[in-house]
Symmetry: C2
Subunit: 204 residues, 2 copies
């Protein structure tokens, strides 16, 4: 099973819990996800869940199990490299902490903000990157520097022993295989939407 | 060719231009994208570009052509539904305007912010959604409300005649086929990273 489908199950299960539901059938879950109920049963059996006869699946049980598999049942210690527009925006967003991703330190080259706190997060000089990452046992890094600086920021994070990177800069990073990487490129997402809308209109 | 690869070409070409390059060979582009040079030639020939003998591809030419195909050579008028943490963060981010996505109006149910401007963008009562969208010829909507309200927000946007939606709420929206949709779920991205890091560690 592709891992991204686990996230989708989790999302739908959380939605059900918010609606006050405690159980769900495979056909309901399938409908929410746009797959067949046979596919749902196969996916969930893959990690040992078979549903309860006459009840279906227990939402809380499934949520806990999927979070355990994804590794989001624990807390991750995170740093942010770059506190410009995008960085400040993300520091302001509280959703990361709610999901167990705790940003404890940020780095920026701007002398006017080094030594200050932004949204409660201390901003350090990049000189201190290695020390701060080791002292605070930081595991993940978010890169929010402009595109031309992103690879250098990634190299520094890797040298400091970081285990995974979320790259918000619109460039493809080259990283050693042992380092986890996901990219979030808002520009690309908007381009995909523009294409789909522009194309629909021109077809009519 | 998948449309998302067009965005990747565009990203790499912009990076080359920033580095002061005006031309690029298919093998260089392929290396940047992690595909073969034969694949690059096939992709670019697909939309009529064949490279110049002894020169390669002209970066500016390719950028203009890809933007035309994607529909990002024009300006898109955008509204934002929900000015909470995520909405404020995104309003603060200047990258959208740089790419031609101009946010002109926001909507929120909080009476304390209705009638004010946040990051220069006027915040309206959702009652006015239909009128504001029509008067300002808004084409795209960003949904940044909490998950339980996202489908309702989407339904209102569709009823007001919006052509495409970027959904930042962590739920799967159900929309008529004529409306374009992309989803950006930061939680899902972080879960994917956590999974890849947690799994690497447990294997060692």
């Amino acid at each position: 099973m592709v891992v991204s489908r686990l996230s989708l199950y989790l999302r739908e299960l959380r939605q059900l819990v918010r609606e006050g539901r405690s159980t769900v059938s495979s056909s309901q879950l399938g409908k929410m996800l746009g797959v067949t109920d046979a596919q749902v049963r196969k996916d969930l059996a893959y990690f040992g869940h078979f549903g309860h006869p006459g009840i279906g699946y227990r939402c809380d049980e499934l949520i806990a199990e999927i979070r355990r598999i994804l590794g989001t049942d624990r807390q991750w210690i995170v740093t942010m490299i770059g506190v410009g527009n995008m960085g400040r925006a993300l520091l302001r967003y509280k959703g990361f902490a709610e999901q167990g991703f705790r940003i404890v330190a940020a780095f920026d080259t701007d002398p006017r903000i080094i030594g200050t706190k932004i949204e409660g997060i201390p901003v350090y000089n990049p000189d201190q990157l290695r020390d701060v990452i080791r002292q605070q046992r930081i595991q993940l890094g978010m890169i929010t520097v402009p595109a031309p600086q992103a690879q250098h920021a990634a190299d520094q994070l890797v040298a400091a022993g970081i285990a995974g990177i979320v790259n918000f800069a619109p460039v493809t990073l080259s990283l050693p295989e042992k380092v986890g990487l996901v990219g979030v490129d808002l520009t690309t997402e908007l381009e995909q939407l523009a294409f789909s809308v522009a194309n629909r209109n021109s077809k009519r």
